[in-house]
Symmetry: C2
Subunit: 271 residues, 2 copies
């Protein structure tokens, strides 16, 4: 009988020690979700339009635009050059879903899990509450999905200019904008500065910087003007809902449309 109790105690002790071990590992951080799943594509086709429009952004970014329409699908792409330290402050798109493709990496993207679906109630303390955003330091050829209604943005944290290709896909909930793209190109045309000579860039005016923020709501965007306006916390460890976030069906449909246009498919219009 003594032996029985001894064995029972030993067994209990062993179980407890194992459970402790699991807990301790958890406390030490092993319960962290894996890093943001890295989705990667070697190349992203760009629509072969005549003279793609070039616009200078408020932080010296050079955007080269193309917009495509095919049936109800509408999207705008921009091949962009992002200067060291530049990138948009935290903002929210309500009419578009977005992809970021980083051919050389070096851009730190950030995004909230929390959604802010109301354009009139942005992520401020006085309104819908500030967001916790999760960062990802992109690697070359990485592509990251950022659906509508989330606080997001990025920074070039290297000390040299880096390329970034954006895709903004019109959401089905978007009102109709002239280019059928959820208003993004219209926004940049309104607030950016048209580049007519890429070797002789226009100066960035204070007015352009200000309108980048104040005109944004006309295009379904809440754009903050300082980092902590929409952001209360920044975390390096994205939860699974972000780590697994992607929208490959829409991305594949976009690539298909671009390739169709580039192959002369007249059901596609790009400009």
């Amino acid at each position: 009988m003594l032996n029985h109790w001894f064995r029972a105690s030993l067994s209990l002790l062993t179980t407890i020690v194992l459970m402790f071990g699991v807990l301790v590992l958890g406390i030490m951080g092993f319960d962290h979700s894996p890093a943001w799943a890295i989705n990667s594509i070697p190349d992203l086709p760009f629509p072969k339009v005549e003279k793609p429009e070039q616009i200078l952004g408020p932080a010296g970014e050079i955007f080269t635009f193309a917009t495509c329409n095919r049936g109800t699908q509408g999207f705008t792409l921009a091949d962009a050059q992002i200067p060291a330290g530049a990138g948009p402050l935290p903002h929210i798109h309500h009419h578009t879903n977005e992809w970021f493709w980083t051919p050389q990496g070096g851009l730190e993207l950030f995004q909230s899990v929390q959604e802010y679906p109301d354009l009139n109630h942005p992520a401020t303390d006085e309104d819908a509450g500030r967001a916790k955003v999760y960062t990802v330091d992109t690697v070359p050829n990485q592509i990251v999905y950022g659906p509508k209604n989330r606080v997001h943005g990025f920074t070039n944290i290297t000390d040299e200019t880096r390329p970034l290709t954006f895709i903004w896909l019109q959401d089905s909930s978007s009102p109709q904008y002239p280019y059928g793209d959820g208003g993004i190109r219209e926004y940049f045309q309104d607030v950016g500065i048209l580049i007519t000579d890429a070797n002789n860039l226009p100066p960035i005016t204070d007015q352009a910087k200000e309108e980048f923020v104040t005109h944004a709501p006309q295009y379904g965007i809440n754009q903050s003007d300082y980092f902590l306006k929409y952001v209360a916390e920044v975390d390096h460890h994205p939860p699974l809902i972000l780590a697994k976030g992607s929208n490959d069906p829409d991305l594949m449909a976009i690539i298909d449309t671009i390739q169709a246009f580039n192959q002369g498919d007249t059901s596609v219009s790009c400009f």
Copy 2:
């Protein structure tokens, strides 16, 4: 004997259950330190100098300066008006220890625990590594201490101008600057814009914004030019080492010096 083993097992089980409880509470977040201990003072005397110097900062902040010296003690104060959304981006002081007094609250301060003691190795990814900073949303009359070598800064997260009084105390390790204050007033004189008519503020030039960053190292400061340059993470829950951080002996000595000057003590010089 059976009874003995039974009791021993029960006792072991009880101990384990209690330890589990502690761990589970810890996991649920009860191990978080309390909010940053709130140190508060109802008033901070300002040296009654003739015509205190006024300087305009890079984000439209109006600084009203006074500097005092008494023996080896040297410090600069500034009563400042911080516009909505304004505040310095993350930076590191190497020659001064600082207090922030927020008569009306509304300013979100942030600070790292990690120290960056080398002016030539700031908190960038390529150098000493970026910091995790902890935020505190100040309440009226709160005073927060920020010792040298930490990444810190603040933002006015309200939508109206808020007052803030700074004290920068020369650290014993500082080289000698003309005013014996660790170089802070000299820095603002160099990079800020002198206000000669408070009702007619001078324009803030791009040059002033740029020099605020590029001239900083001459005054023992690493000043970043975008939020995420020195910061990798932002957390709302300061650890005890920050929650308990203060330097009341030096603060009391500073207040004593100001009061002595205001009462005509000729061993104190303020200007």
